[in-house]
Amino acid sequence: MLAEVIFYLLAALTLGSAMIVAFSRNIIHSAFSLLGAFMGVVGIYLLLAADFVAMVQLLIYVGGILVLTIFAVMLTAGIADVTISNRAVGRVPALVTIGIVGIVMLFAVYRTPWHHAEKIAVDPTTYAIGNAFLTEYVLPFEVASLVLLTALIGAIVISRHEAKE
């Protein structure tokens, strides 16, 4: 019962913030309400006994990506203009598209007989995830470090100023 109340509160926080992100005409309001959406998702992860992933989400999304997004919003001056934040596809075609996609996916969610485990484990997950990273998933783990290095170098190359000679 308590878990249900917590779930609905977190879902309301997440979806409410996401609605401001999607519907607000002012991009700065969108950027700041991204915080609510990410924090709601952190709560959902904790509710699903994924403690390590929740902390990673808190560090990387809230501490990294969100701050980066807000910086980018503020560095591009005049961005708060409604004329810049205007719409690409009209509101109606977009709503029709997500309506169709939503109905199809809702159908899939409710019609599929999902496998439910009888015993649900709520142990601390850090040890198991660390083991998985260094045994079963060691190749993707190493490739991930290479991807991050490439992204780092790529971002520096793209955003640096050319030296004037």
Binding site: A18, I65, A72, A88, A94, G102, A132
Partner: protein, 103 residues
């Protein structure tokens, strides 16, 4: 947590995905589009974690969620660097203005 089922979390992920898709479809502002992509990636992660929780005893879903978070970080860094580069060249980040791919 008896009353909460997998479907609760799947529907939450679905709604978050739809909001993210709406954001990507309707915005011309490049940073707004990136925000929509972040919402979509979060909705996928909710599904991963929910399947890991209700699958019982396996942690593959959580491992994949961490990979998705890592890729989201790389995507945000590259995406925002590109957006700032476009802004320096075009003085706007309207995606319609940057169709030519020339500086």
């Amino acid at each position: 947590m008896g009353a909460l089922t997998l479907n609760h979390f799947l529907v939450l992920g679905l709604l978050l995905f739809l909001l993210g898709t709406y954001c990507v479809l309707t915005r011309r502002n490049a940073i707004g589009i990136l925000m929509g992509v972040e919402l979509i990636l979060n909705s996928a992660n909710i599904n991963y974690i929910a399947f890991a929780f209700y699958g019982g005893g396996r942690y593959d879903g959580q491992v994949f969620a961490i990979f998705v978070i890592m890729l989201a970080a790389a995507e945000a860094v590259i995406g925002l660097a590109v957006v700032l580069g476009i802004y320096q060249n075009f003085k706007t980040i309207d995606v319609g203005a940057a169709q030519t791919l020339r500086g």
